[in-house]
């Protein structure tokens, strides 16, 4: 490779949504930027749940998003509690809505990388960044397996695994298991027509379903009563994405393998019907950093900024991550441009990145949700076991014409509710709910 591309204006590590957004932003002002990724094909190292959001995409790709090779628009959302036999759910369905798109990472990342290349980004695939080059405490470039690249500013956008950050002293401690959700997913093949019939979707791809399930009190998972876990399902064109996430500390404590959880979920009477006759074609795993607001690495230092998952920008409660990644990448790119303009790459100058983040929804949302995951995790038994069962009891009264007077049953339900549940636990649940509600209302 020629010398010119080894000396550039800006280096971006990682071609996920955050890195691509950063690189495009820099290239659009005519600056020389390289985007390095370890994968041979864009997206071939990446997995996620399944949907990207229009607003963030529009901000970067404008009208181009009409050409995005998505599979379905996701506009039918369900939140559900699984009990041992059934499910209680709330749905919101608006077939006219088109804010979320189901698309595989391979297709999404390839599409974005192609646009980036057209806009002048120099994309370098099949290249692993092994370390940062640091001189006088400034990041001045990067080392790959074969060579070195130099730039006055580097943007680290290489996802949730934090090795590079540790090396650069941007992260003192590694992620702790309690702040990490381990997720796995299976891509389940089923013919298009059957998916449409089963989930009541239109043929033209303008409708699609996303389901989130709480609850762990079924099958062999009954023996664990404190698992903080979530199951997700997305409908694609001729596949269904089914995955589970569980707090890593909970898995460790219970000596539990996450695939065991997924297999139990697949056997649940309700889920098993949804995935009937499907064939598993891919299995993938990833971690989600959930430390959020309190567990961010240093976001800037001399000559370097951190964006996307690497910075812990993710909202696990709502499955939002790609939007945080795209916008944080864009803001890092803008800050890099300012720095290039002023020829000042000091930490002071790059602190403008943090100022930009503070003004955006990213810091505001991270702040609003700063306690939520932790609070929910502490009440894992309530969310995964106790309330799903209470809901079941309640609906058995409503739906079971069992020749006992309803009023008598309601009274029994209420007295049981208070008797069975230790008052302290009830109080803690109420406190948790109140704290979450207050945080939402009085967040930023």
């Amino acid at each position: 490779m020629d010398k010119i591309i080894n000396n550039v204006d800006c280096i971006v590590i990682g071609a996920g949504p955050s890195g691509i957004a950063a690189a495009i932003t820099v290239a659009r002002s005519g600056k020389k930027v390289i985007l390095i990724d370890r994968s041979e094909y864009p997206g071939s190292k990446n997995m996620y749940g399944g949907a990207v959001y229009k607003r963030a995409l529009e901000e970067l790709f404008c009208d181009d998003i009409q050409n995005m090779p998505y599979e379905r628009i996701i506009n039918d959302h369900t939140w559900a509690f699984l009990n041992d036999e059934g499910v209680f759910n709330i749905s919101y369905n608006n077939p006219a809505d088109s804010n979320a798109f189901a698309i595989k990472r391979f297709d999404l990342d390839s599409w974005m990388v192609n646009i980036a290349k057209k806009e002048g980004v120099y994309y370098i695939p099949s290249t692993l960044v092994t370390s940062l080059i640091i001189k006088d405490k400034k990041v001045v470039g990067i080392k790959t397996e074969l060579e070195e690249y130099f730039a006055p500013v580097t943007i680290i956008a290489n996802g949730a695994n934090t090795i590079l950050l540790g090396q650069a002293g941007l992260r003192k401690k590694d992620l702790e298991p309690k702040d990490v959700i381990l997720t796995i997913k299976e891509t389940l093949k089923l013919d298009k027509k059957t998916i449409e019939d089963r989930f009541n979707l239109k043929e033209d791809g303008t409708t699609g379903k996303n389901m989130l399930f709480f609850g762990s009190d079924f099958g062999n998972l009954k023996q664990y009563n404190n698992l903080f876990m979530m199951t997700f399902l997305f409908t694609f064109k001729d596949t269904i994405m089914l995955g589970v996430g569980c707090n890593l500390e909970d898995l460790k404590k219970n000596k539990l393998n996450i695939n065991y959880i997924l297999d139990e979920v697949k056997k649940h009477p309700v889920i098993s019907q949804l995935i009937k006759d499907t064939k598993s074609i891919e299995y993938s795993a990833h971690i989600i950093p959930e430390g959020g607001f309190y567990d961010m690495p240093k976001l800037v230092s001399d000559g370097v900024m951190v964006a996307g998952d690497a910075a812990g920008f993710i909202n696990g409660v709502h499955f939002e991550g790609t939007n945080f990644a795209l916008i944080s990448g864009k803001l890092a790119g803008e800050t890099a441009l300012d720095a290039i303009e002023k020829n000042d790459f000091s930490k002071n100058m790059l602190n403008n990145y943090i100022k930009r983040l503070e003004k955006s929804f990213i810091f505001k949302d991270l702040y609003t949700y700063r306690n939520v995951i932790n609070l929910l995790h502490k009440r894992a038994n309530s969310i995964s076991v106790y309330y799903p069962n209470k809901i079941k009891e309640f609906f058995e009264i409503i739906t079971g014409a069992n020749n006992i007077s309803k009023s008598q049953q309601y009274r029994k339900f209420l007295t049981n509710f208070i008797k069975e549940r230790n008052i302290l636990e009830l109080f803690k649940d109420a406190f948790c709910a109140l704290r979450c509600a207050l945080d939402m209302l009085f967040g930023k």
Partner: protein
């Protein structure tokens, strides 16, 4: 005593089933295998590790305890590159690297 034995039996049975299930799922994945492991263990630390957390946490069942050798075998070829093992190993025995560029797992449908 009998009861405890039965309980243990169930656990190992589930464990074997789970391993088989993982094997089946891994069979669908495309890998470009490297000739060298990207996961390096300090086997001395592992000898003193009671929990052997890596052997049950990994979603690809990469680590297995070999009782005869008192060693952990590492089937790095199956790694899904999630990074969980490094985070749960309390003895910090795992030196975790990315696989060489273009090596390792290749996802097309995720």
């Amino acid at each position: 005593m009998r009861l405890r034995y039965a309980f243990w039996e169930i656990i190992t049975m589930n464990d074997d089933k789970n391993k088989k299930s993982i094997q089946d799922k891994l069979a669908n994945i495309k890998y470009n295998c490297d000739s060298k492991s990207h996961l390096i263990l300090d086997q001395e630390k592992c000898k003193n590790c009671k929990e052997k957390t890596c052997t049950f946490i990994c979603p690809a069942n990469v680590y297995e305890y070999n009782e005869q050798l008192d060693e952990i075998t590492v089937v790095y070829e199956n790694c899904l590159e999630c990074g969980a093992c490094k985070l749960v190993c309390e003895k910090k025995s795992i030196e975790w690297h990315w696989p060489k560029a273009s090596c390792g797992v290749v996802f097309k449908n995720s």
